[in-house]
Symmetry: D2
Subunit: 115 residues, 4 copies
């Protein structure tokens, strides 16, 4: 089974074989990531929240492709910047736990500076 | 060391403790993901591509936080939809290899339907 | 009362006085526009649709600022590209009327190629 | 020649004829706006800044369509929220002039809180 490091290595080879590193500056990859995230959002934009929880199989398959694209660009931009995705996410969870204490954040969607 | 499954489980607990599942429909999580991807993009928007490849430490730390946020929401929306992130990404790489054959895609940023 | 041309001229002066034209390539302005659109989206991401229709005054004021930012970058990128915003929008309405005939599009959010 | 009010009225009729107001909550329109802004960004994501300033005619035409889509959703969400686009933009220019004084902001892309 692949893991993030394996995917990273495959993407390196993919880009190298196609001479695409010339396009893959962090700035450009961040744009591509935002575009893919918007393509994911587009799948949901006219659905109700309840509908978004009950996608028919073909819609779910389309969503799965967009989610994959987001992850691939996220791996790629992290690789170009030397960022360890898992470690960064683990550190952010710890930070979020401080910003959103359970007793203040329970049941509200307010941002931390409004709690 | 954490992995994606561990992060997924931590996020489940994080949301449950704060009674946040009521906000976490796939539709809303896709919006939050797009917002975080844009916050990442904001870090690069006025930089040249070369500058984006040579971030000073404090800018890199800011970028690392935004990248983490994108991954956390990506894990969360995938969890809510029952999508295996690694498997989806692995399948998408295979699909991209078909859409972008090396000999046609080398050195160009054209989309597959223009090759 | 200002109009789009007046706003365009004010933005030209604003950028010239600050020597900002060096940053305002269409590519960068398109990024900034996407970032501002995401900041607008952020105001709504955890709200229900009904709540989004009934914003309290301070939330509405925040939304108004983000909407203004989107328009300002839209005017700016159009100016840099020599695009007449009103004429482009008028032409697009005509095109949309062809893509979404009333009898096929009524009551559905499907895209035109699915109708 | 059309103006923003005329476009707003045309969009009202367009939606009413298709029974689309049921989909057009401010939340959903903000999502659609962000999606269109990303489609505009996609046109530039792999271009250099210089290339983005010298688009060939067919690329410029594609960009013009995306810019039109952004304006149409911006008009639509403003209409649903009772926001006067021109007045909001005019007020924001005045605010930006305070946040970015000429002598501090000249030649830098820093945000106002870093000046």
């Amino acid at each position: 089974m692949a893991d993030l490091n394996s995917l990273r290595d495959q993407l390196r080879t993919f880009a190298a074989e196609r001479d695409w590193d010339q396009f893959h500056s962090p700035k450009n990859l961040a744009s591509a990531l935002a575009v893919e995230a918007a393509e994911l959002l587009e799948k949901f934009q006219w659905l109700t929240e309840t509908e978004s929880q009950n996608l028919p199989p073909d819609a779910l398959e389309g969503v799965r492709h967009e989610i994959a694209d987001v992850l691939l660009y996220l791996i790629r931009v992290s690789d170009k910047l030397g960022i360890d995705l898992i470690a960064a996410a683990q550190a952010k969870i710890a930070l979020n736990a401080e910003k959103y204490p359970v007793d203040l954040a329970r049941g509200t969607s307010k941002k931390y500076h409004e709690l």
